[in-house]
Symmetry: C2
């Protein structure tokens, strides 16, 4: 295929903004940065039901490599296909459609080096870790704003403003709106056309709904926050939890066509899948397979449970998205599943009359450290009573709690640690280590005034006593090697770090 | 049998002091209070091995009732038989022995009402509770001084002085001396004669060793403290953990003959039975059966594990003596075993370099409340580093921690509660209740500012907010009934109590 300039009818944007700028001419190959978003916009039929009637896709090629990508109908006769190139250099594309005005369109894009803040998508690395495609490490410190994109615009913007100051680099958020305690508002936009009587037309989508979602995903991307998109959830009163199978599949394919090219997208197949009573285990397997098959980028895939854990050994699950506080099971899960373990919900800091939403900041801070020292990643959420029922956990808005700045402190500690940390089997207190180099113990409710440690005898180590609540790090005097007793303050909830001296 | 005055050669004491006062004459029937200790002292042979060669027992009769009781050799030609009558009125006794000077001795004792501080022995009541024989409730709030009777006299006395001020009404203590970390002292007295080369003569006992033990048990009794006597344990370097079976049996029968008549004695067959590697499960069963068969009073019998729980469904186990902090299993254990559940070790307040002995006072206080609200009883222990290695947990001495006064506070709360409290299945927070009358919730790390409760609609209740650490009880304004939300301080580690208003 000979690359050629796009025709005048082909409208291209490489902007991250979800509504593509409409260019009237394109002087040469479109430039897009690596892992950026290329968007091709074409005009096509608007009669009938274009969501179903009009097949539209494109093939992106680089030398002998071919990446088929589904396009989507964005309403008003506008068709789009998005592509996020993972390799620099020249790419060509060729569209395919049963409709001539959408078929055979071709063009060239030039993929350039990424900008400084673009480290590429996150994927699993070394079995139990995550990393960006450019090699930068990624340690998830997530929070939840499950329904934030269904709130009034000003509140959505406030959430972004809050996140800008917060320590979180992952956000769990539902695509579908949420109907639950503290969440009894009808959203302005629905994903499917809906009559006043509440009848959904699952054969069509509401592009404006998805464009808002894309705006928010893009804003998160600018804040280096991964969007852990929840595809299904049980907190429904509109019908989305129990759509017909063909509607489920169209929905998934539409979401993938629109969103997979955003490099900060993760797929969370469900929140609390086991509470969706109308679906069978085979349904969840099918959703995973549809994602696997349709997503050109293999974005991360997980499924979050309430009580019954999904079988995370299935090959399409990239990492464990766990509920609970059984951090002591982390080592077993790592061994059995050989996947990263993320405790996405270990109860939330807050004071609502729900035991899942009323734990203290100290307890959540403790859980972050205990989970981390167990070899897992831990997620935050916040549920303080609010006169307007704006709880961060679901609607976003403002953070009120005491744990976020402690999580920031932990994140700084972990960012400074080497990669490849793993839980130490049989450690006397929970410990993750890179053996011979780095050891991080969390002593939890223990308060020894002396503690026994054993480090390699062929090196010397510096010791730090870390107070996760006070957010202090104090170097212990001297250096350490082999077996020794370390003097400690005799105070609970401390961590001890050993780092090999050069 | 016609009761008669004791002969002049029969020496009787009803004193609690273990060394009987030797009376030269007895003007009439010996008086002993109900559940007190009657001791008959006779002179007999001292040649050979009286511990084995001389059978000696007595039968105590009241009307048609007969209680056979084993006597014991106390050294120096002195033989004793002890009896603790459980019914007021006249009792007669008749001794039996193959030796004529010990055989056929008879006499009368008059059992009077108990003194005010004597509530009788503790036994299981209503499946899951304990109570004194006179009907007084008994809620165990135990501590441990495992090796206190093997310490120098002054330290033993200091332990008694400390206990006088402490909130504990049960003491776990080993009959055998202990060899373990912080316990590397040879005791002054051994239970069996022992050569300088360390050879034990298991066919004989050292009466002075047991007389000291009896002194201490009696002192505990005067402080209303139950002596939870540990018969075997693994922390041994003298040989007592691995005696021949016949020595085990003689030891048990000797201990029962000497100690069972003390009304505050409980039998703990072992501490950490599963760590005694040389014994088989059948051995432990046998010890229980020997106790059952030889103890005229059926004192409480339990066995404490480290990792592997003994089968507490066996009929000779009167209550669970558990290690761990799995308080959430209490309800299941109560249902399965229908016996009281005592967490005798849930780790100790302290700061030693052992994770079982370095938990904070806050954590131990939390565990007391969590266990209590789960329907269990919880035990204390204290392990603070000491320049002389005098740790309360084992040697006694002084208490240094912050939990005992909180335990005193909890004990006062529980003493004021009605009996018959049981864990409430499905309670939103751990709760024990006497339904319709009294409810005690412990909220642990939860800090709801509002909490939902549901009480009977046909009564009104007063609510108290209890702070176990600050030891405060604040009445919530108003009265409560049916379903309601209670305003709470939004602070973790609180308890909430509801009491029905008259």
């Amino acid at each position: 295929m000979v690359p050629s300039n796009p025709t005048r009818r082909t409208v291209i944007s490489t902007a991250l903004a979800p509504i593509a700028a409409r260019l009237t001419a394109q002087p040469g190959p479109t430039r897009v940065e690596r892992w950026g978003l290329f968007e091709l916009t074409l005009s096509g039929p608007s009669n009938g039901n274009p969501f179903i009637d009009v097949p539209f896709s494109a093939e992106f090629r680089q030398q002998h490599r071919s990446v088929p990508v589904d396009g989507f109908y964005d309403g008003d006769g506008v068709y789009k296909v998005r592509f996020s190139p993972d390799a620099v250099g020249e790419w060509t594309y060729l569209t395919r459609s049963g409709r001539p005005e959408l078929d055979g369109k071709q063009g060239t894009l030039l993929c350039a080096a990424p900008s400084a803040s673009n480290h590429g998508p996150v994927s699993v690395r070394n079995s139990w870790e995550f990393g960006h495609a450019d090699g930068a490490p990624y340690l998830p410190f997530g929070t939840t704003c499950y329904a934030w994109t269904h709130q009034p615009d000003a509140l959505q913007q406030q959430t972004i403003d809050t996140l800008r100051q917060a320590p979180f680099n992952k956000l769990r958020m539902c695509i579908f709106p949420k109907w639950y305690e503290y969440n009894r508002d009808e959203p302005r936009l629905f994903p499917f056309p809906r009559t006043a009587a509440g009848v959904n037309d699952y054969s069509r989508f509401v592009p404006e709904f998805f464009r808002n979602l894309e705006t928010r995903i893009t804003q998160l991307q600018s804040l280096a926050i991964e969007a852990d998109l929840i595809l299904f959830h049980p907190y429904d009163h509109w019908g989305y939890a129990l759509m017909p199978p063909d509607a489920d599949e169209r929905y998934l394919r539409y979401v993938v066509a629109r969103l997979a090219a955003f490099r900060n997208v993760w797929w969370s197949v469900a929140n609390e899948w086991d509470l969706v009573k109308g679906k069978q285990p085979a349904d969840w397997d099918r959703y995973f397979r549809i994602l696997e098959e349709s997503d050109p980028y293999s974005r991360l895939r997980s499924i979050h449970h309430s009580v019954v854990m999904y079988d995370h050994s299935k090959p399409w699950v990239t990492h464990l998205s766990v509920q609970g506080d059984e951090f002591s099971k982390t080592a077993e899960w790592r061994t059995v599943f050989r996947k990263p373990v993320v405790f996405d919900e270990c109860k939330y800091e807050g004071n609502i009359p729900k035991r899942w939403g009323d734990i203290s900041a100290r307890e959540l801070t403790r859980r972050f450290w205990l989970g981390t020292a167990s070899g897992a990643y831990v997620g935050h959420g916040e549920t303080y009573l609010d006169p307007n029922d704006i709880l961060w956990w679901s609607k976003g808005g403002l953070l009120h709690g005491e744990s976020p700045r402690r999580i920031a402190f932990l994140r700084a500690v972990m960012d400074a640690a080497p990669r490849g940390l793993a839980p130490v089997a049989g450690a006397y207190y929970p410990c993750i280590a890179k053996p011979g180099e780095y050891y991080l113990y969390y002593l939890d409710y223990h308060q020894p005034a002396l503690a026994d440690f054993s480090l390699p005898a062929d090196a010397r180590f510096a010791a730090d006593i870390i107070d996760p609540w006070e957010m202090t790090t104090v170097a212990a005097p001297g250096t350490y090697s082999a077996k020794f007793q370390l003097k400690l303050p005799g105070k609970p909830m401390l961590a001890v770090r050993f780092r090999r001296l050069a």
